[in-house]
């Protein structure tokens, strides 16, 4: 016979406390091991919704299912192809990062990237004309996430851009992401000058086809395996991708150099890819998207499945509430600036790359990447504490993505809306900073958190869903 009440009456009591310190002290006076939760009240007005959501009998098992699916999702790079084919993207439709937005409210970098994409597609001859047509509503704008894709920074994808296709055969999903343009003046940071457009044309004409040959000849590349290893090599998979980029290049290189293309093109493709320390980011992101996508749509689950920004709004989506976006004004990152740029030059948070944090890497794996503090600010203890704090707002630990310095503990994964609201600890995001003015490009990198109202709004919707 098992001991009733889990052995409550037969084991020496260890007590966790929440509330009045006096009672914890009274227990310590009796030499009882006590751990106090340091309770502080959640934002006013949330207590009713919290109680409803916590009482939802589906919550615990739904979140366990979300965690299981999120960590079981595979990510195999299977192809490289134009977005028109991959996503069925039609001429005149443009995908962008973050939650839905219209031109009037779009930030500088998103506007710049859209202008560049319109020029690339030949839908306007000058930036001014592109802007006019965009402002006139001549084109359709749609979030990448609505097509299962992700885009870094402005995240603008147009039909002729090439994308990676990444498969999760466990759940039968595919995700897509554009090819990384490198650093400096690039479309994803809102630059649209001639060199930007020329580079994009070269990527479509030369780089994409060579990468496609490489992927098709070497076979699927296991992106999850690279993420697992890069975390043990000092990357966190969002703002530091050095080891991951090298490992990816190692996988693709044999197929690239044997590709059917002029030697000079092959050489330039290899040089371009090898010189780009964020080469891997555009594969880590769709891998993370596949993980979070597998966890979507579980009734009762309070796990976040999307965090994304369009430079104006920050939006989240939650497993238990499906497609609905919960948005708030995007914060501006705090961090370090390139060259002469300063805080006044930075645009508010932008990009789908917070999908990495949503899937348990990036800022959540900061302890694995102490060197990142030289890039985004903070110090090494901060990096360690950032990951440790995120265990407090997530439902589990990733079995594959591990942090050596924490004793190979799995990264915190599965952001729980209820935990975020209860603790007030917002998800830690590492990010690049785009210039506020269209065409500027990257001005720095830093740390940012979502606006808290995304989570309180999601909580209200979850409570409504639980109550019905």
């Amino acid at each position: 016979m098992t001991t009733p009440l889990r052995g409550l009456l037969t084991t020496d009591p260890v007590v966790a406390t929440s509330g009045v310190a006096l009672f914890a002290d009274a227990l310590r006076d009796q030499a009882v091991p006590v751990l106090d939760a340091g309770w502080h009240p959640p934002p006013p007005g949330t207590e009713g919704d919290l109680a409803i959501v916590m009482a939802d009998p589906r919550r615990v098992s739904a979140n366990a299912a979300a965690l299981a699916r999120m960590t079981a999702a595979e990510a195999l790079l299977v192809d490289v192809l134009p977005a028109s084919q991959a996503l069925g993207l039609e001429r005149g439709t443009f995908l962008h990062a973050g939650p839905p937005i219209e031109w009037e409210r779009a930030s500088g970098p998103l506007r710049g990237a859209l202008v560049g994409a319109v020029l690339l597609e030949g839908l306007a001859d000058t930036p001014e004309e592109a802007e006019r047509r965009l402002a006139a509503g001549a084109f359709d704008l749609e979030p990448c996430h609505h097509r299962g894709a992700v885009g870094p920074m402005a995240g603008v994808v147009s039909p002729s851009m090439w994308v990676y296709a990444v498969r999760d055969d466990v759940h039968g999903n595919t995700s897509w992401c554009s090819l990384n343009e490198g650093l400096g003046k690039v479309l994803r940071y809102g630059a649209y000058g001639p060199e930007v457009i020329d580079r994009l044309r070269w990527m479509g004409a030369v780089l994409g086809p060579i990468l496609r040959q490489a992927v098709r000849s070497t076979g699927p590349v296991d992106i999850r395996a690279i993420i697992a290893q890069m975390l043990q090599m000092g990357d966190e998979g969002h703002n530091r991708n050095r080891a991951g980029s090298l490992m990816l290049l190692r996988e693709l290189l044999p197929g690239m150099i044997t590709a059917d293309a002029p030697a000079s093109d092959v050489a330039e493709a290899v040089r371009f890819s090898g010189a780009n320390e964020h080469f891997f980011l555009n594969l880590g992101m769709p891998a993370c998207k596949l993980a979070t996508r597998a966890a979507e749509g579980i009734p009762g689950s309070t796990v976040v499945t999307t965090m994304a920004r369009n430079g104006t709004d920050f939006g989240i989506r939650v497993s238990g509430t499906g497609e609905q976006w919960f948005t708030g004004p995007a914060n501006t990152p705090q961090g370090l600036f390139l060259g002469d740029y300063g805080p006044e030059d930075a645009n508010p948070d932008i990009g789908d790359s917070a999908i990495t944090e949503t899937a348990g890497i990036g800022g959540f794996a900061m302890a694995a990447a102490p060197a990142i503090v030289r890039f985004v600010g903070g110090d090494v203890p901060f990096a360690l504490a950032a990951t440790r704090r995120m265990y407090e707002v997530t439902v589990g630990e990733h079995p594959l993505y591990q942090v050596p310095v924490l004793g190979f503990r799995g990264t915190p994964v599965g952001i729980d809306v209820a935990l975020v609201v209860r603790t007030g600890d917002l998800p830690q995001i590492n990010t690049g900073m785009a210039g506020r003015v269209a065409g500027t490009g990257q001005v720095g990198a830093g740390l940012v958190t979502p606006p808290a109202e995304c989570f309180t709004a999601a909580l209200t919707a979850l409570a409504r869903a639980a109550g019905s």
Binding site: T11, V15, A16, R388, F408, T423
Partner: protein, 505 residues
């Protein structure tokens, strides 16, 4: 011969770690050969060389677990060793204590990190439900001190707890003693054979202190919340507590303490006790039922324990108690009971009411004799200063006696106050040394009355033990010195106070 070959997709560990795993597994009893390795070309060759059939689809990012054992038991032992060794690879964090650098942010986290079997929730009522669900989900029983939890929430919480095989003690549970540890407001009593199930905080404290004075110790005191034996809650926690105590080696017999229960629920609990084969005694407050002291005396007698004279100090200046059948009283004025303990107040109403007739109170059972918002009545009255409406935004009067102190002074100046009946509850969680302060108030009250030409008798129901941090005996002496009569038995105190008024009907 039993063989097991398993491919774990994408489970990456470094080779040195896996060497340690392979060695640990190979050393498990009954295992003949074992290899746990990433399925690199080299490792696949090695495994095939060892005679294992490696699946064709194995790739370098997959973990291969290959075992050969003499029989199925050996294989099971080997597989268990694999799980242990792999778990140990990522478990070093906890052994280094590295996790301690960020404090837990939630109760669930605190439960999981400390391995706590019990969580104590004392957050404001509006947040208590959230905290309690969190603790239940983390696998801990909960002492829910918070009040202002709805009956519907209480029922749902208790059902969730039962499904998880944990206990919700509460809401509004002030007292518990689990495995010798006092939680909330609890007296220090000797360990012993009595398991207490209490739908009443101060009622449980009274029972424990009486048992302790009789030389009988307590194994556990499981609070269940004052509403547990109501029709709506249906004895959910009481049932769980009884079942746990029935198989507890430290518990010989059980005392169930409750505020007035629903009769059907009480009957169901009596049947439960019978079905469990438990020796149980009942200390159930209610009209026509024995008071708590009498109930404890009956239980002691039934268990063959001599009933002692309960500690009491009678002050000589008090008017002598009159026989209950005395026709009229010469003492003018009414009984004013000012209590911190809800059950003690309730018992005082019942005991004094039987002698004096109707007693108004703020206990909420008897609308005909309810005290209004001002808590004033011309006749006999008992006030529970621990009631919800008097603790909103304030600490419990056992910790913060301010409101009651003010009322003591007011009663002293009120010519209709004929006798003052007070309780004082000692133990963990209560005021660290409340005796001197209350003694001072008693002294001042008597002086105020005397200055107005009145003699104001003061009777204190002092609930505590000599082992309590505040020391019952010392506190008793301090109060007696100030001119109060002091009783361990709350019923005796109430009866004495009523007697002073001559039992006027």
């Amino acid at each position: 011969m039993s063989v097991h070959v398993e491919l774990r997709r994408g489970a990456y560990h470094d080779s040195v770690s896996l060497l340690q795993v392979s060695r640990a597994v190979a050393g498990a009893p009954g295992v003949e050969a074992a290899q746990v390795a990433m399925a690199t070309e080299l490792n696949v060759d090695v495994l095939r060389g060892m005679g294992f059939a490696v699946p064709e689809e194995a790739g370098p990012n997959d973990l291969l677990v290959a075992l050969r054992a003499a029989d199925d038991d050996g294989l099971a032992a080997g597989l268990a060793a694999v799980e242990d060794a792999l778990a140990a690879l990522s478990a070093t964090a906890s052994s280094t204590g590295a996790d301690d650098e960020v404090p837990p942010a939630t109760l669930g986290s605190a439960v999981r990190r400390s391995g706590a079997g019990l969580a104590l929730v004392s957050v404001p009522g509006a947040h208590a439900v959230t905290e309690t669900y969190d603790a239940i989900a983390a696998g801990a029983s909960v002492m829910l001190f918070s009040d202002n939890v709805s009956v519907a929430d209480e029922v749902a919480l208790k059902d969730a707890a039962a499904a998880a095989d944990v206990l919700v003690m509460g809401p509004d549970c002030g007292t518990a003693l689990v495995g010798g540890v006092a939680l909330g407001f609890a007296d220090v009593v000797r360990p012993g054979p009595v398991g207490i199930v209490a739908a009443s905080g101060t009622g449980a404290q009274q029972a424990m202190c009486l048992l302790d004075a009789a030389g009988v110790g307590v194994s556990h005191c499981l609070g269940v919340g004052g509403r547990d034996l109501s029709a709506a809650v249906g004895g959910r926690s009481t049932r769980q507590a009884l079942r746990a105590l029935a198989v507890d080696d430290a518990t010989d017999w059980v005392l169930v303490v409750s505020k007035p229960p629903d009769p059907d629920v009480l009957a169901a609990m009596e049947r439960e006790v019978e079905a469990l084969g438990l020796r149980a005694h009942w200390a159930i407050l209610g009209a026509g039922r024995p008071d708590l002291t009498a109930a404890v005396e009956q239980a002691l007698a039934a268990e063959g324990v001599a009933v002692p004279d309960w500690p009491a100090v009678l002050v000589a200046t008090d008017a002598p108690p009159r026989p209950a059948d005395a026709p009229t009283t010469t003492t003018t004025g009414s009984l004013r009971g000012l209590f911190c303990g809800g059950t003690l107040a309730e018992e005082a109403v019942l005991v004094a009411g039987a002698v004096l007739g109707p007693v108004s109170s703020n206990l909420g059972h008897d609308p005909e004799h309810a005290l209004g918002r001002g808590l004033r009545a011309a006749g006999h009255a008992v006030i529970d200063f621990g009631a919800d409406e008097l603790t909103r935004g304030r600490a419990h009067p056992m910790i913060d006696p301010t409101l009651r102190m003010e009322r003591i002074a007011a009663e002293a100046a009120d010519p209709t106050c004929g006798v003052l009946l007070l309780d004082l509850v000692l133990g963990h969680g209560a005021h660290p040394d409340p005796g001197p302060e209350l003694a001072e108030a008693v002294r001042a009250a008597r002086a105020t009355a005397r200055a107005a030409g009145r003699e104001l008798p003061v009777v204190v129901s002092l609930c505590g033990t000599d082992a309590d941090p505040q020391d019952r005996r010392r506190t008793e002496a301090t109060l007696a010195e100030a001119g109060a009569s002091v009783f361990l038995s709350n019923a005796a105190a109430a009866r004495h106070a009523a007697g002073i008024l001559g039992g006027a009907r």
